[in-house]
Amino acid sequence: MSAIEIRNLFKSFGPVKAVNDVSFTVESGTVTGYLGPNGAGKTTTLRCLLGLVAADGGTALVNGHRYAELDHPLTEVGAVLEATNFHPGRSARNHLRVMCTAAGLPADRADDALAQVGLADVANKRVAGFSLGMRQRLALATALIGRPKVFILDEPANGLDPAGIQWLRGFLRHLAHEKGAAVLVSSHVLSEVEQTVDNVVIIAGGRLVHQGALADLTANGDHGVRVRADEDEKLAAAVEREGGRAERLGDGVLRVRGLDREAVGRIALDERILVSEMVQERSDLQKVFLELTGSAQNGSAGEPRPQVEWPQPRSTSGGDA
């Protein structure tokens, strides 16, 4: 049984198909990134999974059950949704204490969770004075009080400063790889999660466009070796003789396909050509991501298409998004 199992999930808001036949699973001990542009249907999927939004069709199960059927949901699932889910006049500790009371958990779990997310110093401060990053940490604390084994986090990095993002990455990896938890984390910025996740599920326009290990995302495609040589013409000819294909990029730079770096290096040595630079090309993850999500956006003709603004990788890291 998978920790999270989503099968043929559908949800429309009026004419907009927010989630259109989405299926994927998340296994214990792994971090899965749920990626896509804003408005792709990530939040709707997660809210269906948490019983906050009623799906039109399909199933979304946590530990084999619908969320609403869980007797002690906080001990099974920790969820982080938007950063604004707090009453400004209530202190951080009291927010957690109310949840502990309602869930039948011991009150000291509140302080444990606050310590874990680094908010112990401001436990008695009213949330009104909290920065976006502090609210995000408090949201994470609400997910921790029940000590669950499944975590569902919607854009948890929003509002965190670079140090906070760094900390979050380590924390999510620790939860999955050392505590054996299943972690599903959504983001619209690939670079935010690329160092954290084991698997990726990519959604655009309500439809899944890719699902698999993160490494697969860059592995596909024919990648070349980029070589800078003083006699690039001569090298190109030698490469062609050895069965490779060389493409002259100008300025003494060649892209060689069909041969690996070692073979290219040996040819250059045999031909006594000076090589000043040699790089194995890889697909740019961000580019692959954009291609995947972009084509799906264009494919969903007839549906109202959300305006997608693609932020630069780091631009959302520090500001108050």
Binding site: L52, L70, E82, R90, M99, A102
Partner: protein, 261 residues
């Protein structure tokens, strides 16, 4: 369910609104109390009978009923107990903790009853602090067990407590905080006032929350508006509970089922 009711009370007492409302309720019922006391035995204009003097049992009946002024604030508190969850989106966390939404509303109703009783007791305490010295100073006989005073005090307590339920039901039905408060206040100050004053509408008026509250308290003192057509006290209590349950039930089938996005 006990845990959920405790959590609801904790929610209320960890923010500041409850004491703002308590002070407002005490100020307002205190204001009514002061008016009743200050103008006791004073005749407004020729032909109108004077209000009962401070040494009379009727004054004591009127004064003890002044606590019903607190119902307005308890109603608002009840409304906010539900609508604040939507306003600050804490409803997400609440439903994540308790995914069976009907249980949340039930817990809120029970917690509201507890808070309503506390507010009712506070108002009655304030009344006692004013009435007992006022009667003693004017040479009257303080009575707490006679002249229907226990029934009036009990009626105030019950109607204040039940108005919290009314507010919670209303808040569950109208999730928008401002909208729900406006609707509640407009009802109390406009609709019920019209129903109470226009003689032809009094038969309808007795079925309103205000009429039900009057039935619970039922002071038979002529205040110049003539006799009220009222339900029996138990009927008044039943009407207030019925409003709360009806609203909560309708809300459970409508607004509560909505997607939380």
């Amino acid at each position: 369910m006990v845990a959920l009711v405790r959590a609801e009370l904790q929610k209320l007492f960890t923010t500041r609104l409850w004491w703002v409302m308590l002070i407002s309720a005490l100020l307002y019922s205190g204001f009514v109390l002061v008016l009743v006391t200050a103008f006791a035995g004073v005749s407004g204009s020729p032909g109108v009978p004077a209000s009962p003097g401070r040494d009379t049992p009727e004054y004591q009946q009127l004064a003890w009923s002044s606590g019903s002024a607190a119902t307005l604030f308890v109603m608002i508190l009840g409304i906010v107990m539900v609508t604040a969850e939507y306003r600050y989106q804490t409803i997400t966390g609440t439903f994540l903790t308790t995914p069976r939404r009907g249980r949340v509303v039930t817990a809120k109703l029970l917690a509201g009853l507890v808070v309503g009783v506390l507010f009712g007791l506070a108002t009655l305490a304030l009344t006692a602090v004013v009435v007992i010295p006022a009667v003693s100073l004017s040479g009257g006989e303080v009575t707490l067990t006679d002249h229907g005073i226990p029934r009036i005090a009990g009626g105030v307590l019950a109607s204040v407590a039940l108005y919290a339920l009314f507010g919670i039901g209303l808040g569950a039905l109208i999730r928008n905080q401002i909208g729900a408060i406006m609707a509640g206040v407009a009802w109390v100050f406009v609709v019920e006032a019209i129903l109470a004053v226009v003689p032809a509408l009094r038969t309808v008026g007795k079925w309103t929350p205000g009429g039900a509250s009057n039935a619970l308290i039922n002071v038979n003192v002529n205040t110049g508006l003539g006799e009220f057509d009222l339900l029996p006290a138990w009927g008044g209590a039943a009407v207030l509970v019925a409003y709360a349950l009806l609203f909560a039930a309708v809300a459970s089938l409508t607004t509560l089922r909505r997607d939380i996005t």
